[in-house]
Amino acid sequence: MTRKQRRLTLIGVAGCVLAVALGLVLYAMNDTIVFFNSPADIQSKSVQPGTRIRLGGLVKEGSVQRGADQQITFEVMDAEAVIKVNYKGLLPDLFREGQGVVAEGILESPSAFRADSVLAKHDENYMPREVADTLKKQGHWQGEANATPKTQ
């Protein structure tokens, strides 16, 4: 093989691998990406039932119901809308009524959601960023003041 042929082989192989990678990335971008929506978004954007989304908002006070076998239902709300969430499993440590939550799963109807994972705040200082942003936008953000840890 001449020097030129060798160089061409190298460039060719590199081009192939990069093309395959690019194809995979573009395909995956269409297929595997999950959008974040608040309950209000679902109505305003009319998200189709059957879509996989991340739902974020506040857990409505008094809405958490525990059934048999770790079946749990609760309602996620923002300023404008409420959606009922079904979930089977253990809730995270910092899951609380009245506080922020992000649930990932399938939207079953415009008002019902089946979650397969539920994320809550990681610690007392922190609310899921998407939830905090949404609440800020809707003017319901109460600031960090009541979330800072108490000093003894």
């Binding site: 093989m1 020097r3 060798r6 160089r7 082989t9 190298l10 192989v13 590199a14 691998v17 990069l18 395959v20 990678a21 995979l24 990335v25 395909y27 995956a28 971008m29 297929d31 595997t32 990406i33 999950v34 959008f35 974040f36 991340r54 525990r66 048999a68 076998d69 770790q70 089977k88 499993g89 253990l90 809730l91 440590d93 910092l94 990932e104 990681h122 610690d123 007392e124 922190y126 899921p128 960023r129 998407e130 942003d133 840890p149 108490k150 000093t151 003894q152």
Partner: protein, 660 residues
């Protein structure tokens, strides 16, 4: 007083770094040995100053000095000693201080290995290293000062984030940072070579141990972090494709490529420009990782800081160093003497393929990690790019690489014979295929990916063993001779084989997770929960009060195929100061697998929620990583790479001749 002294030492280190940056750079330009000799001296002084500052902060933590803001925010007088120490780097300010401490430590090691590194290269390298130190010291002193006092002093601290109160997380950041920051040395050497406009196999030989060492530590750091997430977060997952994890995976992938490309450069004097670029990119990705984690642009456990001022500053550092080094590369790289080209089917060709796949895989991780951020900035749309994206893009790029690995490892340098090499691997390939078919039949109806993945891992392990065997034994050789031959193989050959076997073990562990089972149920005392072949019985729930938390511990007896295997304890803790609950998983190790249980909230009827997993062979994921790092460490002890034993360029005989 000691705190102020620490603060002052940090400022002094900044001044000394300026000297370490400017004087040697000028000295190297003017070819003045006196000026160049300033580099090692000032590097040692900078290290001494930063080490003093770090000790001063550690002392403030140990003595619970609540007049220091950082201590108030992250410590508590009742905290166990180990977490008082690890609390020093369990927060934004302290971890940045650890970052520059390690940076300065590496500078100091370069400084004391003066006899083995050409003077000009050393001066330029330390100058570049100093530039990085300056940027980060400025960052600490202006936006993240750990020595800020608080008036009046607090009576008690606010405690460390409970998730971080764990032995795993006590050692995870130092390991990870040694890895991250270790690549700064390869970066500094690369920039120094560009400034000097000269690069040869000696350069590769000097840089390789640094890269290999950093790589081994990064491997350990990532494995440690993964094991921590596995047992501490209570979800039983070991890798979440979380942006923070990706931030450490990207430099690891690029670093792995760099470790391999320096071999080509050292042995065959080829791939020079690419190796330089890779060294720059690897450290750039380390900086990017620091930016992602430290600026608070991500939402994650690791983002302790949400502060736009800091974010902007680190972004500035990022742009300055990545932009600056790439500009230097664009300007100087064309002047470097190109190395030779080589035959596509050869060891060096295989290593190019390795680099190609690793770099591409790294790029897909990069896109998946940064695309959501970019999209949010540009359109405001919030998306999550999770495991499905990475499984879909990353795996198809890594699997072919792993399939080619044993082949590449067996190929000869210069001009390999593909068929001949494949023949040497027939047995290995056959055995792995057979094992895959047997596993597939035995678990028929189960996940298909598991036997394929375990078979692939087995193929890698056997391929590595085969490499050592074929190099020391052929038909008719007495075993004693073969043993002597095997022991006589260079340490780097053993290191390579061991590291690659480690990859195989990790692959087996990962693939076997598909065989895992999960069960969720509500248990009252005495009730049982079955998950696959294993079963647990809730024995009792014990309330306990410890120094800085109280907990309810559930004791579960584990049964496997009718026999009692032992007990495990999983707890729900409440850290009093922060009012923060955490779950501690209970783990019983059975062979290489684990029975893993965590508890949820108590139900109204008095039962508690229990999540049970059986994870076969899961330990292999981390054992494999340890083996990889051990392979890297063994390679480091190779006589050829030992710091202090390089051969000058003139004495390098025909390596520079391209393999035509």
């Amino acid at each position: 007083m000691l705190v102020e002294a620490g603060h002052f030492a940090l400022a002094l280190a900044l001044g000394l770094s300026l000297i370490q940056f400017l004087v040697p750079l000028w000295g190297a330009r003017a070819n003045d040995p006196v000026l160049m000799a300033v580099a090692p001296a000032s590097a040692l002084a900078v290290f001494a100053c930063i080490a003093f500052a770090f000790l001063a902060l550690t002392f403030a933590y140990l003595s619970s000095d609540f007049s220091v803001l950082n201590v108030v925010q992250n410590s508590h007088s009742a905290k166990p000693l180990i977490y008082k120490i690890s609390g020093v780097w369990g927060n934004h300010e302290g971890s940045m201080l650890l970052w520059v401490l390690i940076l300065a430590l590496f500078g100091a090691i370069v400084a004391i290995s003066r006899n083995s590194i050409p003077m000009r290269l050393q001066a330029n390298t330390l100058a570049v290293q100093a530039a990085v130190t300056i940027a980060f010291l400025l960052f600490i002193l202006t936006t993240s000062n750990p020595f800020t006092r608080v008036v009046p002093a607090a009576l008690e601290g606010q405690d460390l984030n409970p998730l971080l109160q764990d032995p795993g997380l006590a050692i995870h950041p130092p390991l990870l940072y040694i890895g991250y920051v270790g690549f700064s040395i390869s970066f500094a050497f690369a920039c120094a070579a560009l400034i000097d406009g000269r690069i040869d196999a000696v350069w590769a030989r000097i840089v390789r141990p640094w890269t290999l060492g950093a790589w081994a530590f990064l491997t350990l750091g990532i494995a440690m972090g993964s094991y921590w997430a596995y047992y501490e977060l209570g979800w039983g997952g070991w890798w979440f494709w979380d942006p923070v994890e990706n931030a450490s995976l990207m430099p690891w992938l690029a670093g792995t490529a760099l470790v391999h490309s320096t071999v080509v450069m050292e042995k065959r004097d080829a791939l020079k420009v690419w190796t330089i670029l890779l060294a720059i990119l690897t450290f750039s990705l380390s900086l990017l990782g620091t930016f992602l984690v430290r600026s608070g642009v991500l939402t994650s456990v690791h983002s302790f800081a949400v502060d736009p001022e800091r974010g902007t500053f680190i972004l500035g550092i990022l742009i300055l160093f990545i932009g600056g080094s790439l500009a230097l590369f664009a300007w100087r790289a064309p002047m470097l003497k190109q190395g030779g080209l080589f035959a596509p089917v050869s060891r060096e060709g295989a290593l190019v393929v390795n680099n190609l796949f690793l770099a591409t895989a790294c790029a897909t991780v990069f896109i998946g990690t940064l695309y959501p951020l970019a999209l949010e900035v540009l359109t405001g749309e919030k998306i999550s790019v999770g495991a499905p994206f990475f499984n879909f893009t990353f795996l198809p790029l890594i699997v072919p690489l792993l399939l080619l690995l044993p082949l590449g490892q067996t190929l000869a340098w210069k001009r390999g014979n593909f068929l001949g090499t494949a023949q040497r691997l027939y047995t290995v390939f056959g055995l792995s295929l057979l094992a895959t078919i047997v596993m597939f039949a035995a678990t028929y109806g189960g996940p298909v990916a598991a036997p394929l993945g375990v078979g692939l891992g087995l193929y890698l392990v056997l391929g590595s063993i085969n490499e050592i065997v074929t190099r020391s034994w052929s038909k008719g050789t007495p075993l004693a001779v073969a043993w002597r031959k095997a022991r006589g193989l260079p340490r780097s050959a053993w290191g390579t084989a061991i590291a690659h076997a480690g990859v195989g073990l990790t692959v087996i562990g990962i693939a076997a997770t598909a065989w895992g089972v999960e069960a969720i149920g509500s248990l009252k005392i005495g009730e049982r929960l079955k998950g696959g072949d294993y079963e647990v019985r809730l024995e009792r729930v014990i309330p306990r009060v410890e120094a800085n938390y109280r907990e309810e511990a559930a004791v579960l007896t584990v049964f496997g195929s009718g026999r009692e295997l032992g007990t495990l304890e999983t707890t729900k803790r409440l850290y009093v100061t922060r009012g923060m609950p955490t779950t501690e998983a209970g783990i019983l190790t059975v062979g290489l697998g684990q029975v893993y249980a965590s508890i949820g909230d108590a139900q109204p009827d008095g039962s508690i929620g229990v999540r049970l997993y059986h994870k076969p062979l899961v330990l292999l994921i981390w054992i494999g990583s340890l083996v990889m790092a051990a392979g890297g460490a063994l390679s480091l002890t190779d006589r050829r790479l030992r710091i202090g034993a390089p051969v000058p360029a003139k004495a390098m005989p025909p390596a520079a001749i391209p393999a035509e």
